[in-house]
């Protein structure tokens, strides 16, 4: 195993550590399996490229990138964008779900209070 630069080592080791941290978050139930998926795919992908120099060089040539390290960073940035978009979509859905809940709660509370008032009036009679 050989490395092209110090940066490559740092990135590769960093990716492994991040992957472990993500898995640990899942273990401690701080992160749901659903959200961990993108992270695991990305960190494992970067780690594989980082530790396998021939693969990294090959991919870099194929994409026409000058520096191998740039390939790794490009993948990192692309991944960040995917995660951000995914989170925006999830946020939109959560917002819609929140609205529906607030609405149902408001309507149910109104019904409950009307019912209680009606019961109190019946009781008073």
């Amino acid at each position: 195993m050989y490395f092209l630069s110090k940066t490559q080592v740092i990135v590769a080791v960093g990716a492994v550590l991040l992957a472990l941290y993500v898995l640990d978050l899942v273990r401690r139930r701080r992160l749901s399996e659903e959200y961990s998926f993108l992270w695991v795919v990305a960190t494992v992908g970067v780690a594989v490229l980082g530790f396998s120099t021939p693969l990294l060089v090959g991919l870099t040539r194929m994409l026409g990138v000058v520096m191998e390290v740039s390939t790794v960073f490009a993948i990192g940035i692309a991944f960040s964008l995917v995660v951000l978009l995914y989170l925006s979509v999830r946020l939109s859905r959560l917002g819609a779900e929140k609205d529906a809940l607030v609405r149902d709660l408001a309507l149910l509370r109104h019904e409950f209070e009307s019912e209680r008032r009606a019961m109190a009036e019946r009781g008073a009679r």
């Binding site: 819609a96 929140k98 609205d99 607030v102 609405r103 709660l105 408001a106 309507l107 509370r109 109104h110």
Partner: protein
């Protein structure tokens, strides 16, 4: 034919000051109609003053925006068997004396939605320039989409029949129910009609249009309008 059951829906966010007067005016102008105030997460006594006025009150825990409040009103109206829902601002801009004029075309089945418009005939209202330009844009967009001229797409003084409320309780554009709503409704085959009304300056309270929203709103409304044109309507 029995008279249709009418519910006036008043979305209210921090409208403690202007609400009592608006509700009293509604009562004076149309004693037969029921009123529902949707307190959209107010921090002030909006719910309290509404209850004191003897109307029904549904309160959101957090603020959902005008569209969200209106949608809650539609749900309530449908659940309680109302035939027509009227949207009326709490801030006193909409004069309840025009309720009858607004209701008539819907009650007579001439349209599904009637829109109280400031511009159909010469009335007192004159909007600021920026707003006028925006109105022109969205009016043009709606016209392009529907082949029908709606001069006042932002008017929040409207009456909706049961069929429209049934659709809107399920699917409704968030925040500002303006041009995107009208386009969506027209694409579903509902008939819209503009009715000339007079509008007034706000009595009290803050407008929903803050500076940030003034920039963001045209963008969002434009996008939502374009989407309403191409989205599949359920």
């Amino acid at each position: 034919m029995t008279a249709p059951r009418v519910l006036v829906i008043v979305p209210a966010h921090d409208e403690e000051e202007s609400l009592p007067r608006t509700l009293a005016e509604v009562r004076a102008a149309a004693p037969a109609v029921d009123v529902l105030v949707v307190d959209d997460g107010s921090a002030d006594g909006t719910s309290r003053v509404a209850r004191e006025a003897g109307v029904q009150v549904v309160r959101h825990t957090v603020n959902l925006g005008v569209g969200g409040a209106l949608q809650t009103g539609f749900c309530w109206a449908c659940d309680h068997g109302y035939d027509i829902g009227v949207q009326l601002d709490a801030d006193g801009q909409h004069d309840p004396r025009w309720l009858a004029a607004l209701l008539a075309p819907v009650a007579e089945g001439r349209c599904n939605v009637s829109i109280g418009s400031r511009y159909v005939s010469r009335t007192g209202y004159r909007a600021p320039l920026g707003r006028r330009l925006g109105m022109l844009l969205f009016s043009g967009l709606v016209r392009l989409a529907l082949g029908q001229r709606i001069t006042d797409t932002t008017s929040g003084f409207r009456a909706y029949d049961r069929a429209v409320m049934d659709v809107c309780r399920r699917d409704f554009p968030k925040d500002f129910p303006d041009a995107p709503l009208l386009i969506g409704l027209a694409r579903r085959g509902f008939r819209l009609l503009e009715v000339p009304v007079e509008m007034r300056e706000r009595v009290a309270g803050r407008s929903f249009y803050t500076l940030g929203k003034q920039l963001y709103y045209p963008y969002k409304n434009l996008l939502a309008s374009l989407m309403a044109l191409i989205q599949r309507q359920s």
